[in-house]
């Protein structure tokens, strides 16, 4: 087996934040004596990513995703534990390490605001000493894949958010990094721009065999790109596996959509079959325990004038929401 591209072992990060009560008295007291509190952002996380793999890194706001990505790219020192990227320890920020990675953040701006993106690209060419021929080839490939041929000649301040993001992504990949950390690369973009970036990421991964760790609030990004997801919540690892098994594992429910005729005329007591999520004139949506699926569908078909019926897993959004709503002290992992 090849050594992993990303290896994280018992990684932990604690921030020290100063705190005080509201009010003038508290403000005066804090002038003389600061009280601080340790906040655990990342709590004992371990996982590995193989070269060429795309992993979706999921969690609600404040779960510790960005903190983890910053530790992996060398911007934060871990409080404890270890991470290695192709054998390098990120916090040492060795040049050889930095040349292999890139970190793209939705809100961060690497491009010089007043200049066309092409000028910033030239600066990157010098920083990474990319040979002229290779630079031209990479630039041509990136501008074609992202469709930014005309945009890179316009001052960055005149670009729309989506256009700027595409240029940011291009600039971050000019040195052909083999490990990409993408933090919300599609945030704030319209559906078309989102899809374009998503397709681009997939194409880059195929062409260069790059390893990707990607966070996104858009499940469409994750479904389209990641074969595997790692879920963290309150800084702890909740799940590591295929997206489909995340749904299986965390959703003990199925959703049944029934078309019953005529629904309005009869006052069926639908609550006896399961939880009614939605109901209108002709259809009803029920949530039922997964284990009871066969028994309940049997009863429904026998007892009601059913014209149509579909049984589905809940959407990934629903599952994720359910996972994130689980209390921190009782990890969802413990569930069957």
């Amino acid at each position: 087996m090849t050594p992993p591209a990303i290896a994280i072992q018992s990684l932990r990060k604690t921030y020290q934040v100063s705190q005080r009560e509201a009010g003038t008295g508290a403000a005066l007291r804090s002038f003389f004596r600061r009280s601080t509190k340790d906040v655990v952002a990342v709590d004992d996380i371990s996982f590995t990513v193989q070269p060429g793999e795309i992993v979706g890194f999921l969690g609600p706001n404040g779960a510790g995703k960005t903190t983890t990505l910053k530790m992996l790219s060398g911007l934060l020192y871990p409080t404890a534990g270890e991470c290695r990227i192709h054998g390098y320890i990120p916090s040492r920020r060795e040049a050889a390490f930095l040349r292999q990675i890139t970190l793209v953040m939705g809100q961060r701006n690497q491009l010089v605001w007043d200049l066309p993106a092409g000028d910033s690209f030239e600066l990157n060419r010098a920083i990474y000493s990319i040979p002229a021929a290779e630079y031209q080839r990479t630039l041509a490939e990136l501008t074609e894949l992202l469709e930014i041929g005309d945009l890179i000649k316009k001052p960055v301040r005149n670009l729309s958010l989506g256009e700027r993001m595409k240029c940011e992504v291009a600039g971050a990949l000019l040195h052909r990094p083999s490990v990409l950390f993408l933090d919300e690369p599609t945030i704030g973009l319209d559906v078309t721009a989102q899809r374009r970036i998503r397709e681009f990421i997939a194409a880059y991964n195929r062409r260069h065999g790059a390893t990707l760790l990607l966070t996104s609030h858009y499940m469409a990004d994750v479904e389209a790109l990641a074969q595997r997801v790692v879920v963290i919540h309150h800084g702890r690892l909740l799940f590591d596996g295929r997206l489909a098994s995340l749904v299986e594992r965390f959703s003990p429910h199925k959703t049944i959509t029934l078309h019953v005729e005529p629904l309005n005329g009869h006052d069926h007591d639908l609550a006896q079959y399961g939880q009614v999520i939605e109901r209108d004139a002709v259809s009803v949506k029920l949530r039922i325990p997964k284990a009871e699926t066969a028994r309940i569908t049997g009863r429904l078909l026998a007892e009601l004038p059913v014209t149509d019926m579909t049984i589905e897993d809940p959407s990934i959004e629903e599952v994720i929401e359910q996972v994130f709503n689980a209390p921190a002290d009782r990890p969802a992992e413990a569930q069957p």
């Binding site: 930095l98 000028d119 600066l123």
Partner: protein, 267 residues
Amino acid sequence: MISVWGFYRARFKTALAVQLQYRVALAIWMLGLVLEPIIYLSVWTAVAAGSGGVVNGFTVSDFAAYYIVLLVVQHFTQIWHMWEFDWVIRQGILSGRLLRPIHPIHNDAAENIMYKLLMLVVVVPSVVLLVLLFQPVLNPPLWSALAFVPALLLAGVLAFLVGWCVALAAFWTTRTFAINQVYFIAMFFFSGQVAPLALMPPLLQTLATLLPFRWMVAFPTELLLGRLTVEAALAGFAAQAGWIALSAVFTLLAWRAGIKRYTAMGG
């Protein structure tokens, strides 16, 4: 292998392109550049007139020469990164620079050098204008005029290192304004800006000798004016070298400690 020279060349180009977009700012800056020595000169001319045309051996045209040379030296030794560094940290701009396989100091150094070279288009006409207006007398011995060049270069390096180190305070506090203010007040008094150091009380002169500011500004200025003996010049170079070594070590240590502390806020 990272080519630092290649980076500086590319960074010069972007800095140039950015500066050329701000023509009005350039004009205002030129106005300030000319006004400052005019104000000092007017004050000292009035003082000299009140004491028979000479103050402690400085005639009116000596003052003119002093402030015009001072303008040039200040131009080559100015540093402004401490005003921006706090913002660079809070906005996460530093994070972007830390991801590059080149030390962030190179970005600031390249920008600093570029700006100084570029602004010569403003400084040179300003100096010509002031020379025509105030008729300074400048008659240094040859060795002194030649020694001015390395003294100015070392002063530029020293000012950059000390200034960069002051900027690093932003790692520890968000109120860097107060620190910067102290730095520039010390600069104002001890670098020979408010008055030639020879006119200062002995205590202040001693302090100026112990602090780095004199070696950033007053020393090269006095060298070009021909006011220093060979011994004083050699002592000045030694002081510059010593301060550069000291501030380089201190900057390195402060950078390491600051980066440890840096927690990449925001984002």
